[in-house]
């Protein structure tokens, strides 16, 4: 690990100056160019300069050449807990769940995110170069997510977007967290009511802030945060597993005209026509998620394929793990989705361009296209196969991980 950190330091020093060519037997661009056999990518100044077949452009002599079998864009995990929920799972490194109030809309992931947690490095080694991380599953209104690159020392260095969305949680977790202590919510009804009430107040707050002199109206951090949601400045990310919870999310989204993203969506396949009708994108719980709760009993490996099949935009995420293992790896999850009817191309889209689009960062990331940031992963076999290794990871055009054999 020290090696990688020192590599990082050196590379940061030479940032943006490095010129690289990657030559791949097969390149998954995730752009309109599709998959290119015998491809070459030119990288300069941290950006992708040119993508095409080998010899389509002369490689200038000062470009360092990397040859590989397969290459993809850096993987994008659109809902991770890494960095807020540390590897050791002890109080000292757990900053995901503020279980003191069902509405914690004013919490910001950036204020708890530890870019130095070992799991961030673990994700990077597995090809994950960008993650959206948000407060955890315990509160009906959990707080503000942010998008980070996975390599860098400080939040300021790695931040792409904050806030990137507001996390809402339906279903079992809020009930367990509060209900068992005799507090609200004890029921799904209360969870929905808490959310509706807060959104309604945020709406009124927005109007009052507009119509009244701001000196006469005190600033409320929670209402201000939720105002961004009701004003569609940031998306509302609703975590919901059971099909009735999914319908509740859609109902609240309609009522307040939210920019809605569904999250988890374990039973999505049971209401896929309803989700499709509202054209809502979906951040899926890990394909291999454990059946450790009632709301995940009907989890199906085929859920990603069944949603894709009707044209729903899907991203596969690592979600939240409370115990062992502390996180999932989205490429592993995408592999199982592929083994269960999702075409390989779509499985890769679900961890690259789709999450980039859903989070609105596809102008910078998610595919290998001229002008985009050079976040690229190299493999010695098919990217989603069990026996394949990630051999190299580039972030912003710099080699940040190289596998030792």
């Amino acid at each position: 690990m020290k090696n990688i950190l020192s590599i990082l330091m050196v590379l940061i020093t030479f940032a943006m100056s490095q010129k690289i060519t990657i030559i791949a037997d097969k390149l998954y661009t995730m752009s309109n160019q599709g998959n290119i056999p015998n491809a070459q990518i030119l990288i300069n100044g941290g950006k992708i300069e040119k993508v095409g077949e080998v010899n389509s452009t002369q490689i200038p002599h000062d470009y360092k050449i990397y040859k590989t079998r397969y290459a993809t864009p850096g993987f994008i995990d659109a809902h991770a807990s890494i960095g807020l929920s540390g590897i050791f799972n002890v109080r000292g490194d757990q900053d995901l769940n503020e279980t003191t109030n069902p509405n914690t809309a004013d919490l910001r992931a950036i204020d708890g995110y530890n870019p130095d947690d070992e799991l961030v490095l673990y994700a990077l080694k597995n090809g994950i170069t960008t993650m959206q991380v948000g407060p955890g599953p315990t509160n009906p209104i959990a707080g503000q997510a942010a998008i980070f690159k996975t390599c860098g020392k400080t939040v300021e260095e790695v931040i792409l977007k904050s806030p990137s969305g507001m996390i809402f949680n339906l279903g079992e977790y809020p009930k367990w967290t509060y209900g068992e202590n005799g507090k609200t919510p004890q029921t799904r009804m209360a969870t929905a009511a808490i959310i509706r009430k807060a959104l309604q107040e945020a709406k009124e707050y927005t109007i009052q802030r507009k119509t009244q002199n701001s000196e006469n109206y005190s600033y409320d951090t929670k209402k201000a945060a939720l105002a961004m949601v009701v004003n569609r400045e940031i998306p509302a990310i609703f975590s919901c597993h059971r099909s009735d919870d999914i319908m509740t999310a859609l109902r609240i989204g309609r009522e307040f005209g939210l920019s809605l993203i569904l999250d988890s969506v374990t039973e999505g396949y049971l209401v896929r026509d309803k989700i499709k009708k509202e054209n809502v994108p979906v951040l899926l719980a890990p394909t291999m998620q454990r059946l450790d709760r009632i709301e995940t009993q009907n989890s199906s490996y085929e859920n990603p394929a069944l949603l894709w099949d009707v044209g729903i935009q899907i991203a596969i995420t690592s979600g939240y793990e409370s115990y062992v293992p502390k996180t999932r790896i989205i490429s592993f999850e995408a592999g199982i989705a592929m083994a269960n009817k999702l075409p390989e191309e779509e499985a890769l889209r679900a961890i690259t361009i789709n999450p980039a689009r859903i989070m609105g960062i596809d102008d910078r990331l998610g595919s290998i296209e001229t002008g985009k940031e050079a976040d690229i992963v190299l493999f010695d076999g098919e990217p989603l196969e069990y026996l394949t290794h990630v051999t190299h990871v580039f972030v912003n055009g710099q080699l940040v991980y190289e596998r030792e054999d």
Binding site: D309, T327, Y386, L387, T388
Partner: protein, 448 residues
């Protein structure tokens, strides 16, 4: 009735490989298949003949004599290997759905529970068992949890039957091993209650006390048993002790200890106790085994290891490394890979081994770690774990290479009976998930 008729049609149309019901007394030959017998070389074009629940012939298709009466099933292009053996599972003892009412793995009312038997809590109707069959698991060591220093007696079972009596491999006598644990888990259960153990020292102490008590108890009985009948007259036999009896079996090496342990120093602690008291020891999880692989090999312990997708989740699992399997293998340790279901998904058992292969374990070693090696850890290697004449006809049919993500288990057989067939919709739901919603499960149009 209609459903049965449809099922029958389905079997006729799709399930040509299925054995017709009632054909059990007839030999069945699986022909033209690549076979991994495990204890001998891979057979490229093989035939496997089963009869009365046992393997009656196996070998190259050109050499195996198929009996005249045999039903012949063409399995060209497929792979057959032994049914998988999961040396560490909580199937049936934590049945689905996971509600308090179903939670029977950890009796956390006292740290020493040697008299508990997993078999008294295993629910054969657990849907998890049916799911495990879709992952190719045919035999499991079902264990109490690791919340206690001594968790209780484990059960060696086949995943077949409506009652635990049918499932148990040994119908009488010693029916499993003894679950024990050290490290964080027992500390976490008792420490916060102000009870012992709250330190690793106390965990080891409780275990030593138990072994010493068992040794003394055994000495009393030995003395009584060795006394002549005349001298015994009027002397009552020592009181029968339910807690110590199974520990005596451990000391007599009739019952194996299955020991949950993660950190290298915790591994060394139980090896120390093994040296002091002498018993057959299988280490379980063994997260930091790679740090003390030589010591494990030298102590003659074997290692049943876990695969997880990322390190951490608890302190003692933070140094998890997928290279563990390869390093232990190279050190000469007998290695099995386990699911620790529900920690890991039984349906993805082959995947657990594949990830170890990715990080340096040999393919041969990994296949053995799913079959013959765990069988050895349960002293069942004469019945299961490889495809050999006379062994139980427990085997699986795979669609492709065992360690490819694209491979599915197509069928699972236990003692010659088909217990899973992916061609049957209802069975397939257990493989993919969503078995409870079968009526509402959408059908996906075929891909272009």
């Amino acid at each position: 009735m209609k459903i049965f008729y449809l099922l029958y049609l389905l079997i006729l149309m799709l399930g040509l490989m299925s054995i017709p019901a009632g054909a059990q007394d007839q030999p069945v030959a699986f022909k033209g298949v690549k076979i991994y017998p495990i204890t001998s070389d891979v057979i490229e074009n093989g035939t496997l003949v089963i009869h009365n629940g046992k393997i009656s012939a196996i070998g190259d298709s050109n050499e195996v004599q198929i009996p005249d009466m045999a039903v012949i099933i063409d399995v060209s292009g497929k792979i057959i290997m032994p049914g998988l053996v999961d040396s560490h599972s909580h199937l049936g003892i934590y049945p689905l759905p996971p509600v308090e009412a179903n939670s029977d793995g950890n009796e956390m009312t006292g740290p020493v529970q040697s008299h508990l038997r997993a078999l008294d809590a295993i629910n054969p109707a657990d849907p998890g068992i049916r799911s495990a069959l879709t992952g190719g698991i045919t035999t499991a060591n079902i264990m109490p949890g690791s919340g206690n220093v001594v968790g209780g007696q484990t059960a060696y079972v086949k995943l077949k039957g409506k009652s635990i009596e049918e499932m148990l491999i040994h119908k009488q006598g010693i029916q499993g091993g003894m679950k024990m644990a050290n490290g964080e888990n027992p500390k976490r259960v008792y420490g916060p209650k102000g009870q012992s153990p709250s330190t690793r020292m106390a965990i080891a102490a409780l275990q030593r006390i138990l072994f010493i008590q068992a040794r003394e108890y055994k000495a009393k009985w030995d003395q009584y048993n060795n006394t002549s009948r005349e001298e015994k007259t009027g002397i009552p036999p020592p009181a029968y002790n339910l807690e110590l009896e199974p520990i005596v079996e451990v000391l007599e090496r009739k019952r194996t200890i299955h020991f949950h342990t993660h950190r290298a120093d915790d591994i060394m602690t139980i090896l120390r106790l093994k040296k002091e008291f002498g018993f057959d020891l299988v280490l379980h999880h063994v997260t930091e085994g790679y740090k003390v692989a030589e010591e494990i090999a030298k102590a003659g312990a074997s290692a049943s290891i876990i695969t997880i997708d990322s390190p951490g989740g608890k302190h003692e699992a933070a140094r998890f490394d997928l290279r563990n399997g390869g390093i232990l293998e190279k050190a000469g340790v007998l290695v099995a890979i386990h699911t620790d279901y529900p920690i890991w998904d039984s349906r993805l058992f082959l995947r657990s081994a594949a990830l170890m292969v990715r990080e340096g374990m040999s393919e041969k070693g990994a296949l053995e770690a799913l079959t013959i090696n765990p069988a050895k850890m349960m002293q069942l290697e004469n019945r299961i774990g490889s495809l050999e004449i006379g062994k139980d006809a427990d085997f699986i049919v795979l669609s492709g290479h065992p360690f490819s993500v694209k491979t599915h288990v197509l069928q699972t057989y236990i003692e010659g009976e088909p217990v899973f067939d992916r061609n049957l919709t209802q069975d397939e739901r257990y493989a993919t998930g969503g078995y409870e919603v079968s009526e509402d499960y959408p059908i996906m149009e075929a891909n272009p």
